[in-house]
């Protein structure tokens, strides 16, 4: 099944346009990295992914704006209204990008090329002054169409695979396939020598599915210019629509967003019971004076298909209607009386559930909430989880990773570590070794009283990282037991003694 003919409108640098800074050198930052920049800034060398300091170094006088996804969505609303003149079925992929099926409209307007020109003209009319012109592309399936939009091309029917074959596989990590860690998949493919989508498309489907699982299959379908949705994607047979009636009507965005949140949770839960997940959701709202507005959102992008991602999109949409719709003439005249979420396209949930190591999910979610509270108060590094790592000293045998981050994927403790301190490991490992003094067969820890050493083992010499002058350490380790029955792991460097760990 070849992908459905799709037209994609791409407004470049949307976050900058939404912030109203496209006329000056400006960059939008999220989590300390540039996510979008204006054309003026790009000329100076600013690019996506740079840190703030790097960007400012390349372009003095750079205007830096924090990323506000809600503002992006709000500013996009007039554009969507403009495209709606051509078809009611507009799908917002993310703020700045939206898609529509071209079958009907292009026959009506006389071909893809004419439609493309008309849509581009309509969108450019709706863009704020000074914004870079939009790009429109048509191809089979939304993935190929987005690539085509970036180049401003109309790819003839059936030629999408050939069009895509020259793109690098890293293209997969920015489109709809970005979910479920396809970024990792693209990396893996490159390491295996598969650098372009064309090379990926040549592989036999069963082999791709066997080796890379469902994610790999989706990527393979995309590379062949097919629809990324499996054939099984269908209109739900059950009525899974969730509705909230609001009485009295709501004028405030915060209240409406709160309703949206609980509605999204409900939808997500009822889909979860069926083992389904929604990939496209229609958000419908009814207003006090009888207006009815609806908008489709794709749930494939970076946020995935979680209840949180859905709630966020509904909130953006409400924000667009209630706050910004004014200029476009779309602002409803009364309060919100009804909010409805219709899952228009569902597919089996192939394991997008959060992996909680097989534990009880409710308990795991509670735990995640409690830790999020602690991290919210004390910073993300405050709550950590230990992952086994390789190393000789007890401190090196675990690595602490902030809770919620992916643990590093390197080898772990599997390699042999000759000279590793054998089990049992000490239950107290001093983060900063405690200075100690040894004289004769007596030991004093941190200037404390002397106690006699009744047994000891060692010395175990270690000469680590001799290839690196800064990290080079040469020392000798001992296990000692004092007369009180306390055992310590001592390390000795020249005549300096330290307690590394205590067996207590």
């Amino acid at each position: 099944m070849s992908g459905e003919r799709t037209l994609v409108v791409w407004c470049p640098d949307w976050s900058v346009v939404a912030a109203g800074r496209c006329d000056v050198p400006a960059a939008v930052l999220a989590a300390g990295r540039v996510v979008a920049c204006s054309a003026a800034a790009r000329v100076e060398g600013v690019a996506r992914g740079l840190r703030r300091r790097q960007a400012e170094a390349r372009c003095p006088g750079l205007v830096v704006v924090d990323h506000d996804p809600a503002a992006d969505a709000r500013a996009f609303e007039p554009v969507v209204v403009a495209i709606e003149a051509f078809t009611p079925e507009v799908e917002i992929v993310r703020p700045g990008v939206c898609a529509m099926a071209t079958r009907g409209p292009s026959r009506y307007f006389g071909g893809d090329d004419v439609l493309t020109a008309r849509v581009a003209a309509a969108v450019d009319g709706a863009l704020p002054a000074g914004a870079p012109v939009c790009r429109v592309g048509v191809a089979d399936g939304p993935f190929a169409a987005e690539r085509a939009a970036r180049k401003g091309l109309v790819v003839p029917p059936g030629a999408s695979a050939a069009f895509l074959s020259g793109f690098p596989v890293s293209t997969l990590s920015s489109g709809p396939a970005a979910e479920a860690g396809s970024g990792g998949l693209a990396d893996l493919l490159v390491r295996l020598g598969i650098r372009s989508l064309g090379q990926l498309a040549e592989l036999p489907t069963p082999a791709v599915l066997a080796r890379f699982g469902p994610d790999g299959e989706v990527a393979h379908r995309l590379a062949r210019g097919l629809d990324e949705r499996p054939v099984a994607a269908r209109t739900p047979p059950l009525d899974l629509t969730v509705v909230a009636e609001l009485d009295p009507p709501v004028d405030r965005l915060e209240t409406a967003a709160f309703v949206a949140k609980s509605l999204a949770d409900r939808l997500h839960e009822s889909l979860g019971v069926q083992g389904l997940t929604a990939s496209r959701v229609l958000v419908e709202a009814e207003w006090e004076h009888g207006e009815r507005l609806g908008r489709r959102w794709r749930l494939d992008g970076d946020g995935g298909r979680t209840a949180g991602a859905l709630a966020e999109r509904v909130r953006w949409q409400l924000d667009g209607w209630m706050t910004a719709g004014g200029e476009a003439g779309g602002r409803p005249s009364g309060g919100l009386t009804l909010l409805r979420l219709v899952p228009e396209e569902v597919r089996p949930d192939d394991g997008r559930q959060l992996g909680f190591w097989g534990g009880d999910r409710a308990a795991a979610e509670q735990v995640a909430r409690a830790l999020a509270r602690v991290q919210g108060m004390l910073g993300p590094d405050a709550a950590v989880i230990a992952v086994p790592a390789g190393g000789r000293s007890p401190a090196e045998q675990v690595r602490l990773v902030p809770w919620g981050e992916r643990p590093p994927v390197d080898g772990g403790p599997v390699r042999p570590w000759p000279g590793r301190i054998p089990a049992p490991s000490p239950a107290t490992v001093h983060p900063v070794p405690v200075p100690a003094e040894v004289a004769g067969a007596r030991l004093s820890v941190a200037g404390g009283p002397w106690s006699s050493v009744v047994a000891w083992a060692g010395p175990w010499p270690v000469d680590e990282r001799w290839w690196d002058d800064a990290a080079h350490r040469r020392r000798v380790r001992w296990q000692v037991v004092t007369a009180e029955g306390t055992a310590h792991l001592l390390s000795q460097q020249a005549d300096r003694w330290e307690v590394e760990a205590t067996y207590d």
């Binding site: 534990g359 009880d360 308990a363 004390l378 709550a383 490991s425 029955g485 055992a487 067996y503 207590d504």
Partner: protein, 225 residues
């Protein structure tokens, strides 16, 4: 697991608790041994409970894993703030007691009796188990109080062998049913890695020196002897 009133402990430790396990809603204090505190968590953690550590920046996590704590379900808040308000030690413990089955916490140098009572009540209400160890101590009498009275290491001699096993004398006391003092000898750990009860005339099953630790270790031993 949430419905059960008792969280399991390792079979060797059951005799230390009048209920035969960690009663949900109770506070247990452990003095003198971090390993003993960690080993209380082992059985519950292995059965799928979530445990957390608060205020223990020097916890030996390799040891925790060896004693049977599942590290994937053992997040740590190593350094909570000092103050008693939001973000402080008491606040973090209260937040975690809400969600975790067992919270292992090292109190700061001084805990107000009122804060301790509040945490005890919170623990009881949420059905968690709070294990306090070390630090400035716990101003409230805990339901079960475990103290390591003496410990003796096996397997290490005068410049040879290595630490292999340890025999400890644990004194258990507390309130209510736990008030009667009990004493118990334990291998913590046994030279084969487990935690086991120990009879007084038992000797270490292995002697020192004969086992090759690793290349460097053997080399070093030759130098000394």
């Amino acid at each position: 697991m949430a419905g059960e009133r008792l969280l399991p402990v390792l079979p060797a430790l059951e005799a230390l608790f009048p209920a035969g396990g960690l009663r949900r809603g109770s506070v247990v204090s452990v003095a003198g041994s971090t390993s003993l505190a960690l080993s209380l968590l082992a059985a519950a953690s292995a059965q799928g409970s979530w445990c957390a550590g608060v205020g223990l920046p020097s916890l030996g996590l390799a040891a925790a894993a060896e004693l049977g704590v599942v590290l994937e379900r053992f997040p740590l808040v190593a350094s909570p703030g000092r103050a008693s308000g939001a973000g402080g030690w008491g606040w973090v413990v209260a937040a975690l007691v809400d969600a975790f089955d067992v919270v292992l916490a090292r109190p700061p140098a001084y805990v107000k009796a009122a804060d301790a009572r509040r945490l005890t009540a919170r623990t009881r209400e949420r059905g968690a188990v709070l294990v306090v160890t070390g630090g400035g101590g716990w101003p409230e009498p805990a339901e079960v109080q475990l103290t390591v009275a003496s410990s003796m290491w096996e397997g290490v001699g005068q410049g040879h062998g290595r630490l292999r096993g340890r025999r400890v004398e644990v004194v258990a006391g507390g309130r209510g049913a736990a008030a009667r003092e009990r004493r118990m000898s334990l291998w913590l750990p046994h030279p084969d890695g487990a935690i086991a009860p120990c009879t007084n005339d038992e000797t270490a099953p292995c002697t020192d020196g004969e086992e090759v630790v690793d290349e460097r270790g053997t080399h070093a031993r030759r130098v000394v002897s």
